[in-house]
Symmetry: C2
Subunit: 796 residues, 2 copies
Amino acid sequence: MNGPFVTIDGNEAAARIAHACSEIVAIYPITPASPMGELADGWSQAGRVNLWGDVPEVIEMQSEGGAAGALHGALQAGALGSTFTASQGLLLMIPNLYKIAGELTPTVIHVAARSIATHALSIFGDHSDVMACRQTGAALLASGSVQEAQDLALIAHAATLRTRVPFLHFFDGFRTSHEVAKIAVVDEATIGEMIDDDLVAAHRDRGLNPNRPVLRGTAQNPDVFFQAREACNPFHDAVPAAVQGEMDRFAELTGRQYRLFDYWGAPDAEHVVILMGSGVGTTREAVEAEVAAGAKVGVLAVRLYRPFSAAALVSALPESVRRIAVLDRTKEPGSVGEPLYTDVVAALAEHLGADAPEVVGGRFGLSSKEYTPAMALAVLDNLATPAPRNHFTVGIVDDVGLTSLEVDPDRWHEPDDVVRAVFYGLGSDGTVGANKNSVKIIGDLTDRYAQGYFVYDSKKSGSTTVSHLRTAPAPIESAYLVEEASFVACHQFGFLDRVDVLAVAGHRATFLLNSPYGPEEVWDRLPRQVQQQIIDKGLDLRVIDAAAVARDAGLGGRVNTVLQTCFFLLAGVLEPEAAIAAIKRAIEASYAKRGQVVLQRNFAAVDAAVANVHRVEVPNEASSAIELREPVPAEAPDFVQRVTSLMLAGHGDRLPVSALPVDGTFPTGTARWEKRAIATEIPVWDPDICIDCGRCALICPHAAIRMKVFDAASAVGAPAGFKYKDWKSDGDASEVMTIQVAPDDCTGCGVCVSICPAKSKEDVSHKSIDMMPVGDHVDEERRNWDFFSALPEADR
Amino acid sequence: MNGPFVTIDGNEAAARIAHACSEIVAIYPITPASPMGELADGWSQAGRVNLWGDVPEVIEMQSEGGAAGALHGALQAGALGSTFTASQGLLLMIPNLYKIAGELTPTVIHVAARSIATHALSIFGDHSDVMACRQTGAALLASGSVQEAQDLALIAHAATLRTRVPFLHFFDGFRTSHEVAKIAVVDEATIGEMIDDDLVAAHRDRGLNPNRPVLRGTAQNPDVFFQAREACNPFHDAVPAAVQGEMDRFAELTGRQYRLFDYWGAPDAEHVVILMGSGVGTTREAVEAEVAAGAKVGVLAVRLYRPFSAAALVSALPESVRRIAVLDRTKEPGSVGEPLYTDVVAALAEHLGADAPEVVGGRFGLSSKEYTPAMALAVLDNLATPAPRNHFTVGIVDDVGLTSLEVDPDRWHEPDDVVRAVFYGLGSDGTVGANKNSVKIIGDLTDRYAQGYFVYDSKKSGSTTVSHLRTAPAPIESAYLVEEASFVACHQFGFLDRVDVLAVAGHRATFLLNSPYGPEEVWDRLPRQVQQQIIDKGLDLRVIDAAAVARDAGLGGRVNTVLQTCFFLLAGVLEPEAAIAAIKRAIEASYAKRGQVVLQRNFAAVDAAVANVHRVEVPNEASSAIELREPVPAEAPDFVQRVTSLMLAGHGDRLPVSALPVDGTFPTGTARWEKRAIATEIPVWDPDICIDCGRCALICPHAAIRMKVFDAASAVGAPAGFKYKDWKSDGDASEVMTIQVAPDDCTGCGVCVSICPAKSKEDVSHKSIDMMPVGDHVDEERRNWDFFSALPEADR
């Protein structure tokens, strides 16, 4: 692949093309497409110009219906327009889409494809939204990677002008939209070459204009509607060849050749998988490994899904194909089969009749469900059975309809030349940002390719984040989470007893642990199961007290430079010296404008990190008395034990179909069983200066501070440190009051402290409610809370 | 078929069931579904109760999006709900439809299926709207006639409760929604039997209720969404058997048996047509005629389109089938094929593999384009060719893509036992209302079946209406316009020189002409071409001066009773005496409450009509000097000559694909070439009392009155009757003023008269602008207008 290269995500890759090719961008935000609109808006705010030297007007409407209407209007006026959307947002555009297509109006809507809400909403990726538009007359062009999100975005903008058919250019929400990857960038000149000015002029000339009036948007009656509806046929018929033409022109300009249907695999393949989107690269990995082992298999990527060229499909398939598995990343209950499957069956039946290969269809990857090479192998294995299963699922366990293919995770191992790193952090702790930065450093400052993908849970701030980084000498097609990581980093020591951070670690991987305990002391602080994993996998355990190093370097609590240095030092991406040099260059680029002091502190942190990361001698036996915490207590109800607890522990993928409600109806009151214990500091109450105002309990956004008035007699049997004070009331003098904190529900946000009006006279910085680090006293606080919970309130 | 019978349209048939089975009906009007909402609203206003003795709450929202949201909310609260919609209205419900289906919530949305706006809007019928919902998870149940619109509506309400899957029950907009037909009515007891109270109770128990809280409408992440999405499978899988179960129960209760796929034709058929909706009955007529002639053909009606039971499809088809034509009433540009076609191909490929019959697909009936038995025969003929055409169209001439099948209209003649009547009237002249009444009279007061269908043009008031009536001893399945009418009535004499009213007349048909000219005089008043048609077809020409008869009977201008009587007397529906008795009974039912005087006047009109309708002796030769008027003048531009003129003349159906713009873009300013000449009275100006205020020209909503000031010298050469008067101005004393009327643009609305302030002193009822009947002076007015148009305005 030829450079120059940039390291960006799929949204930015597509949005940059759209911004360059548009005069009007009508937007309305929806996850995961929002960044496209935000970027376009930001670029226009900053004065970035389009191909014609003008700053595109970016207008935010009040819904996607409005965005589609504004776009339609702008196009009718002869402007070049585009928009970005997903999921329900795209559904609201459907009425306009029929009109825009029916009026043969060029535009591109870039879609970060996302599930449509059914039994539950989901912000994650699959093709159910674009599939709901396949009947509108718009062309559908699928990208499967960040590189393609850029390249096919441009091909879409070129082809829509050529054909007058509007394009939906889509790529998988999150998996592609939010993957950060190093891609060969299309320069402005190439964009300009692809956009034919004569076609732009022709579009303008068709715009509604009082100087050359035409009538559009009329009502037609049964006498002529049908004929008029057929009059557009030549335009749709011409799209496949036109798109291939633009692909060929693009290849001449950039060296990257795309086809309507791209095939990889054995030229004499008998079994072929057909799919589109980010699953293509993953399937390619599996197919290429199988072909290398002598198997006659292949994979066909659908790029232009509408208009669907049956002839191009047939000619892209090897003649030797006997069986085909079509994978759909959508579900249409009650259909004969999912859409790509039925389309392939019909296309082959038309062109090959009784000689058509046998076709089976399956669903995969709904709502960003993982799709791995091992699953692709399961799909190929199914084709090799005497009677392949049809209407299967892959990636889940369906113990109800028995649709799921069995997947053997041991069938696949990631290639050795790929460095695979996984980082566990806390939402807002900077881990994700640092890792995005690391990907950029590798991408921008080395010859290697790099990929970053980031898994958040929906609780956002304060929840676990898992960063998946790959870097390799060749472009990375793996659109799935890292497996068998060669480097695992846990940035939060507190995760160890409740998150299975080492499940992803490969044999002999490096495990970097941010630990307040030094190399001598840390082993005994690990839960027994973690010790066992380290021993069993032969991990190279390294510890650093990143907080201490950062503090000593004058960086306060900002540990990212320290941990990032450790990653570069230990992960084997670069030689240590080169790694240190690269990270310092990156620091210079980031912080130079903040002045020499900041720069020097960061450099010092790098050097201190190198000096302070220590190897831990790993004993032969797991000896710890510390056990993993159960995700929910034993007294939780059955549903919480069976279902919620697995989701909380990050093992929701293991839940079979039977575990989930059929209609999205869940029991209530289950959140109380989730004890996140994410606070690093929790409030501690000083009854001596408390003025009984109760504001702390009132304001706590997590309901983790409670106040209770009770009879002093009830305090008999209280834990040793259980605090309470006299209650000034008109009532019984025997009443006392306590304020207690639920240490596992508190997030450490500190709002209680900020509102507490009771200050110590001696030290006004000390309040009645004040934060203290969660240390060993947490168990004491738990005991206090349990006692408090059971305490009967005073009768009044 | 067992009675009792009612004579209603498809909208009423469906709405009645929905109202009886609902507690909440959330509505928003859209053609052609609006009457369902209006009826439900009216019934609830009038206190009509549902099955449980409650008056359903009908709430009109601010869009279909709101209606769907209100419905969704009501259902979640455990209420029984439904709504009515079509076209873009249904598109706005898509997001909620995914949710309602995903949450397994029973409801029925009744859809008067209508085209979606593309290159142009259309209010007419096809399946593009329901097809845009086929991926949502809702069940789709298709009715093909008014009878079915009632019966399957009930089956849908029963089945949705049984299955928890929401239903879209749809029927063809206008063709079924607005067809008035005699149907066997389902009584309240049967409705009650079909709705299982236990299932209703179960639905209520699932409703959100604070007393037994559950959580619904959550967000799910990649860990569990896919599994949860598959958890609904058993519910969708169970739908086909459940629907068949409800159909069987319905058959036990009513004797009318429906199946998921209903087959008619030869048991050893080799060629079969598959379709759904109102085209089924029409195809049946063609198929049954062919089978009677020994052909091995059949037709399969799809009733339950989603969930699509491939097994039921295969078992409904004769094993002998070798070739299938699937007809889709929708168009999806860029698809492999239209949806029913691809579904059938995939279903057969799965079940029969290489033994699957050959399948071709075609489009028909878009936007209520006529679909006739002759077209069905063309589809069967195509199957009989060595290489049947695929992706064809039928019902149009596609001279661009050459997709269209050739249709031989002579291949089909309507059966002799069907009385077929066609009536030409003017919008708002009462013709349509009278014909609806005639259908009801036949349906309610005789043993015969009857059907009425009404074609309006979009100009509504003041435009041509064509009423198509059939009556026969057996139920009528013909869902197409009357061909070879046995009775043609022209209620407006003025139509004869511009509307081809006799094109539809069959050989030896009766032609009733409402004529101001008596039987002796009328012949010479007919255009030559009309005379020739009467002679060539051997028509039985009858005339009546309905206006005179009505006036004499004291009915003022209301001619309906008179013309209706002539129809009953002449059309051969009943024996004359029985017909007169029937119409009098109907009058009694309609007018009894208006008192004896009104009743007697109507009775008198009936008797006078019988006495005053006269047979006209038809000469052997067409001798008239009157020629048909050209629809547009010779100086109109090319597009107007080639395209607009055919549409104006009612021959838009003849326009080939090449005549229509590819993207809905029309030239402007073409309305000026349409000279409707519909006024029966036009304003005439009296300059002697005119006060020059100009209000008449200002107010005219059709811009048909103009005022002009010009030099008196310019009046040289004016037509004899061209009037003008002195112009009181400060300027040149030689200036004069005229007010002229464009007689062919005037609609005779009389607004000009109402605003004219200039009254004659002698007779204050005489104004300067006053209406006069359009008589022979119209040619004089035309000459005046032409002179006026060319007259140069005074230079000022």
